[in-house]
């Protein structure tokens, strides 16, 4: 495999784009709203791009698809991206998509739980959607502020939609959740918020962006630039117009309009900022996710190596 | 003891249907040995399977000691024509013979002993520990005879039981059958192609006609007992009866193998 096999490498067209057909992977969650807004409002088309959005399972799988060539670009969370780069994958982040806001990623406990503060979590089981990822990173930093370490708890992997059941069945003592499951467990099970995990060192934490293979970025600079322009426009709308996001959510997720209106959303950054990204890398080093520091700027296009 | 009334059977349906039995009436008394002869494919095995309750006949009925045969009756043994497929390849010869004896309330030792005795009687005590597929055709046939005799059934059905053994063994097995019958007062229905045999062992010989099978002859064999392979076969009645049966079988044969 490799990007040489990817679809339709048309010669330069009117805009001089190296490639006009792009397949991008996205998760059916609010993070990727801008991709769908850009497609819906025709921003991609304006740039001469034909973009197909395919659902993916998670960052790791999507990155493998980049390598194989079934995707040209994909949404991914930054923790996965840095881990992949540290493992030797050559990838570039080309757009920022999503950033944490207060109460967008909370630790939840069952209604009648004896756990009142994060300090009570010692020796308990916590559900996260994926280990060695943003959830564990954020929860660990909350634990740290309460004098605990990662070793004091046990992380268990569950898909977000199933966490409610695990809380109810007392399989886990707490669950790190995001929307719309977050609202659902509060409504259905009366689950309670134990802590907002996006505070202090993780406040306004960068969550997700779009990555491509390094080779893709070098071979298709104009296409990448066109893509970035389209996303920037869409991010602008998402950042300023919650209604637009509420409207787009039911079109690509099974979140209905009523739920979309009440859930807590993160924010949609309008630029790709290397210092913000560096926070992720630094926290990962601090918590031992990365063995050696990574310069975030090496992951931005134009910084090869 | 055994009463067959108006028994008929048709295999299949529609244009390919085959009417094998066409209304058979037959009574067999307790302790009687009835031989059935008839041309190949006429319906002898079908009749036997109906008596054994292995086949639900299309019409008529079979009663055994007054009760209609619906299920396989109790206290019955069968020596099948296709003996090799009726032995269980996963059991040794002696296990094959002793298996049915479990129903007789014997314990393991008794079963083994009875099985060994029966095997000895058919000349197979040396092969007890072998598996059926290690035996020759005739030996397999003798195992299935031993199994049936060891069981000491009230009614014994035998479908060409001595077809695969040599002449001498055949005679011995005929005598063995007669002896066991007398000892335990069994009722036996025996199908055979050997007309001499039918007259030698039978109290009666029933001749069936070609499909649909019907009874064309029912001869009582009144030979002085005990029978003996040499003297009985020389008896004038024997010679006469065997000629009679031969005539009946021949007369009833249908499209013969071409003799052009």
């Amino acid at each position: 495999g490799g990007s040489d096999k990817s679809t339709d490498t048309t010669a330069a067209n009117a805009d001089g784009l190296e490639k006009t057909q792009i397949k991008i992977g996205a998760l059916p969650i609010p993070d990727s709203a801008a991709l769908y807004i850009a497609k819906d409002k025709g921003y991609f088309k304006d740039e001469g791009l034909t973009v197909t959005i395919e659902p993916v399972v998670g960052g790791a799988q999507a990155q493998q698809s980049l390598i194989g060539g079934s995707l040209d670009a994909t949404q991914t969370n930054y923790v996965s991206a840095f881990l992949a780069v540290a493992a030797g994958n050559k990838m570039k982040i080309i757009s920022d998509l999503y950033q944490a806001a207060p109460n967008s990623f909370n630790l939840m406990v069952p209604k009648d739980s004896s756990i009142k503060t994060p300090a009570d979590l010692k020796g308990k089981k916590i559900a996260v959607n994926s280990k060695k990822n943003i959830g564990t990173l954020a929860v660990t930093s909350v634990l740290k502020t309460h004098g605990l370490t990662e070793a004091d708890v046990q992380f268990l992997e569950f898909p977000f939609p199933e966490m409610g059941a695990q809380l109810a069945n007392k399989v886990v003592d707490a669950a790190w959740m995001t929307e719309p499951a977050l609202t659902a467990v509060q409504k259905n099970l009366g689950a309670q918020k134990l802590a907002d995990t996006m505070v202090d060192s993780t406040a306004d934490f960068p969550i997700a962006g779009v990555v491509v293979m390094e080779s893709f970025a070098t071979e298709n600079p104009k296409t990448v630039a066109a893509f970035q322009r389209a996303i920037a426009k869409a991010q602008q709308i998402s950042a300023t117009d919650r209604k637009a996001v509420e409207q787009i959510l039911p079109t690509y997720t099974k979140i209905d309009a009523a739920t979309a209106a009440v859930i807590t959303l993160g924010s949609f950054p309008t630029s790709l900022d290397e210092t913000r990204l560096q926070r992720v890398a630094d926290l990962m080093v601090e918590q031992g996710y990365l063995k050696s520091p990574i310069q975030a700027k090496t992951l931005l296009p134009g910084n090869l190596g | 003891m055994l009463e067959i009334t108006n028994l008929s059977h048709t295999y299949g349906s529609g244009p390919s249907a085959h009417n094998a039995l066409g209304g058979i009436n037959l009574k067999v008394a307790q302790g009687e040995l009835v031989c059935i002869v008839g041309p190949s494919g006429c319906g002898k095995s079908t009749l036997l399977r109906s008596i054994a309750g292995l086949l639900r006949p299309s019409g008529g009925q079979v009663t055994l000691n007054g009760a209609q045969v619906e299920q396989t009756p109790d206290n019955l043994a069968v020596v099948f024509q296709d003996y090799s497929r009726s032995l269980f390849p996963w059991m040794s010869v002696v296990d094959n013979v002793s298996l049915p004896l479990r129903r007789k309330g014997m314990d393991k030792r008794q079963r083994g002993q009875a099985a060994m005795e029966a095997l000895e009687e058919v000349g197979l005590d040396g092969a007890a520990a072998k598996y059926p597929w290690q035996l020759s055709g005739g030996m397999q046939q003798r195992v299935s005879i031993a199994r049936a005799l060891a069981y000491r059934p009230a009614l014994l059905l035998m479908d060409e039981p001595f077809g695969s053994v040599d002449a001498q063994t055949r005679e011995d097995l005929e005598d063995l059958t007669l002896r066991v019958r007398n000892l335990h007062n069994m009722t036996i229905v025996l199908i055979t192609h050997d007309i001499d045999e039918s007259v030698y062992v039978g109290d009666r010989v029933v001749v069936l006609s070609k499909a649909p099978a019907g009874i064309v002859g029912d001869l009582r064999v009144d030979l002085p007992g005990p029978r003996d392979q040499i003297t009985t076969r020389e008896h004038p009645d024997f010679v006469h009866l065997r000629a009679e049966v031969g005539r009946l079988v021949r007369g009833m044969r249908s499209p013969s193998p071409s003799t052009s």
Partner: protein, 262 residues
Amino acid sequence: MTRHNPLDNRLLCGALGVAGLFCVMEVAGRTGLIDPLVFPLASTVLGRATALVTDGEFLSDVASTLGAWALGLLLTVALAVPAGFLLGSLPRVESALRPILEFLRPIPSIALIPLALAVFSDRFDMKVTLIVYAATWPVLINTMYGLKDVDPLAKETLRSFGFGKSAVLWRVSLPSTAPFIATGVRLASAIALIVAISAELLGGGAQGIGSYVLESGGSADAVEYIIAAAIWAGIIGVITNGLFVLAERRIFRWHTARTEVV
């Protein structure tokens, strides 16, 4: 002589069986044996599953999954049956390859998905490859077992008439192994469906039942969607299996006539 015993009707009995299970699930949900919050009520799920029939998007997903399923199964048969015959009739080759095959066989196709993603630039190809990988084993093994079950006397009969190895293979071994192979294919058919959906579910993609579930993953009642889709997977399984059984009964009348319960 025609008896109209309702219990002779396959469809009716099957439907009763399914209805029975449905009622049990519903009662379990209503009495709280299974918490409806944890696992939705049978009636809720049924409603969701019924609604999917009119969902054009879902139907095209089903079509896409079935496409991969059919192609995968076809390739499996084309590959595994000859391979089974080769291994079954050449003991030397079999013993040489056995360590490799027995090593590969238990490797979960699901564990291979991330690796397959890195190799295939086309998800359909990837799906089909994984299907073939997983579905080959039952067909291969059943073929080899069936081959061992061929009556030696039947083979000898043909050999005695001077037929060569290949003729014996083609005229005796194949027909008498065929019922075994058919069972293997029937097993493989369900596995192929399972792998197709699992690959979509764990590997992502734009089309397929698994992708449909994936898209609903962000919803609050995702579990309902998962189960509704699972029900459709099950129904497809019942239908395809029924078709296979029907075909087997027609083709192997000689086999069933001698052995089946009357």
